[in-house]
């Protein structure tokens, strides 16, 4: 049953599977087999001893110090941490890819609702993906748009369209009931309000919270708030009157800030192409978290100013009307630079107003009634600053007189 090992030398034995098996994992049978051979054959016995000597002489793996259980666990934690980061990166790049592919078809399909249903849980990135997939028309002739969860796009009439979500699920536009198709879905449904330049809007949510939405702004919000929090995403400027609910904090997310409140009145300005973002608190208390991981608490009449490029935040005391009066139809400025004022007016009226010498350090204080047409507003401005107004085709050029 076994080979004839009579003439085997040590090195041949070491290369023999049965010999190795017998040495490394001996059984009673194998032990007896080799013992018999060794008794019968002295030269073979010597060779077997040499082979064994070598096998036994080799340093066993178990003699090498192993990792301590602490080291083993620490290493495992590092592996898991890296994996979490990988997942996050994958998710982000997947979303970016999704957005690009969606953006290509969006003008035809308005597939946003589908997208939102597709990735409903990962909201931090989700919102941005939704927002960036829709272009705000930069012409004042565009209407305020409501984009529903089922991709449907609805135009809202008027310069200051009002939208209201009733508790029982009914939706009113400009105080008139509209029929929205109900979609049975386990995923939270999102709506998006797109307000172009030259238009304003307001939304009243089912919890009673009201937001005023300034020109050139997008807001994404769930049709019904979650049980544990009320969360919306904004790019642009909104003013909020949050109804108090201690059990469900209200969270306003922007690309670089997250503002958390229980019930309060405040203004958030976080435009896409501006590095300067502000949160101005009128009433109550808010907590602002930014992407530089700092947390700031605001008291009434305080402004949190965030420089998105430097990732630096600063709190100062301000005249709140300078920042929130737009919702009541006027702008109020205290030593505000001409450039900022012109930018705000451009948005509000939907007409590009520009000033060639942008490095001017002109500033201005006063009120501008936004109910007036742009020409009147600029004429009011002319009384404070020596300006020359030049009407170009679709835009207005401002020359500062020296």
């Amino acid at each position: 049953m076994h080979k004839d090992y009579t003439k085997y030398s040590a090195d041949q034995l070491l290369n023999d599977d049965y010999f190795l098996q017998s040495e490394l994992h001996p059984t009673e049978e194998s032990r007896l087999f080799w013992q018999n051979l060794m008794e019968e054959n002295e030269p073979l016995a010597a060779e077997i001893e040499i082979a064994r000597l070598l096998l036994n002489a080799l340093e066993k793996d178990t003699e090498i110090p192993s990792l301590t259980s602490t080291e083993e666990n620490t290493l495992w934690q590092q592996i898991e941490q890296t994996n979490i980061e990988t997942e996050r990166k994958n998710r982000r790049s997947r979303i970016i890819r999704e957005v690009f592919s969606i953006a290509a078809t969006i003008t035809l399909l308005f597939a946003v609702g589908w997208y939102m249903a597709f990735e409903p849980k990962k909201q931090g990135t989700d919102y941005l993906a939704i927002i960036e997939s829709i272009n705000i028309p930069d012409s004042a002739s565009q209407k305020v748009q409501l984009i529903l969860d089922n991709n449907e796009k609805m135009d809202l009439e008027g310069d200051e369209a009002q939208l209201e979500y009733k508790k029982e699920g009914q939706v009113n536009v400009n105080s008139k009931k509209v029929e929205l198709e109900k979609q049975e879905s386990t995923q939270p449904a999102y709506n998006q309000l797109v307000v172009p330049v030259g238009k304003r809007s307001s939304v009243t949510f089912s919890d009673g919270t009201k937001i005023w939405v300034n020109s050139d702004t997008k807001v994404v919000y769930p049709v019904a708030f979650a049980n544990e929090k009320r969360e919306i995403f904004v790019e642009g400027e909104i003013f909020l009157e949050v109804s108090h609910d201690a059990k469900r904090p209200f969270i306003v997310k922007t690309k670089q800030m997250e503002i958390k409140v229980l019930g309060t009145k405040f203004n958030v300005s976080a435009y896409k192409n501006e590095n300067n973002m502000q949160v101005v608190l009128v009433e109550g208390k808010v907590e602002v978290n930014t992407d530089n991981k700092n947390k700031s608490l605001l008291a009434p009449n305080q402004m949190f100013h965030y420089d998105g490029r430097l990732q630096k935040g600063k709190i100062s005391t301000v005249d709140i009307n300078d920042y929130v009066a737009w919702k009541d139809g006027y702008y109020q400025f205290h030593h505000e630079s001409l450039n900022v004022i012109l930018r705000k007016l451009s948005r509000y009226y939907g007409t590009l107003i520009y000033c060639d010498n942008t490095d001017n350090d002109l500033s201005c204080s006063g009120k501008l009634d936004l109910k007036d047409n742009l020409e009147d507003v600029l004429n009011s401005l002319k009384r404070a600053i020596p300006l020359e107004i030049e009407n170009k085709n679709e835009s207005i050029k401002i020359n500062v007189k020296h």
């Binding site: 030398s9 040590a10 090195d11 041949q12 070491l14 290369n15 190795l20 490394l24 030269p43 010597a46 060779e47 001893e49 040499i50 000597l53 070598l54 096998l55 036994n56 002489a57 080799l58 340093e59 066993k60 793996d61 003699e63 090498i64 110090p65 192993s66 990792l67 080291e71 083993e72 290493l75 495992w76 590092q78 592996i79 890296t82 994996n83 990988t86």
Partner: protein, 194 residues
Amino acid sequence: MWEDESKIKWDQFLAGDNNAYSWIYKAHIQMLFRYGRRFTSDTELIKDCIQDVFTGLYKNRKQLITPRNIKVYLLISIKNSLVNALYREDRYTPYDSEAVPFALGLSVEEQYLDNEQYANQQKKIQEILNILTPRQKEIIYYRYIQELSFDEICTMMDMNYQSAQNLIQRSLKKIREEYGSPEIFLLILTYLAH
């Protein structure tokens, strides 16, 4: 048995089961760490490479298949990672596999430590091992310590069956020749037996 269970866990891991992933880590970590010690004494580097291998598995798990042999697959992965870190700064130049040192030491048996004969014998074996090339040491390690089959050794060392056979044959012959005549060893053994 162990290998069979590893394969089941591997399939579960590829299907997205993180517990199976953790099981694979726990089942192989000490073996892989000790294997790494054969190439370097830099334990931090070994840990880094183990981390790279496991996070790489996780990252690519959608593209992975179940290897024929999990243990061999993991050993190769660690070896490649370590060798890359240690010797292949330029990853486009093939490295000289003979140049990668491999530590194959001697077992220390406490009970004989004071024995002069034993000490001499150990010294002799160490000398013999020292005349082996790193690659010969490596193959002896796979064969007698990791107890890999020839097929597995071929995979590990990236060589065909005949070359692997020849390599180990040469190594063993070298050892056998260095031992000298069996009679001398019989004397040693007789001495040790008493």
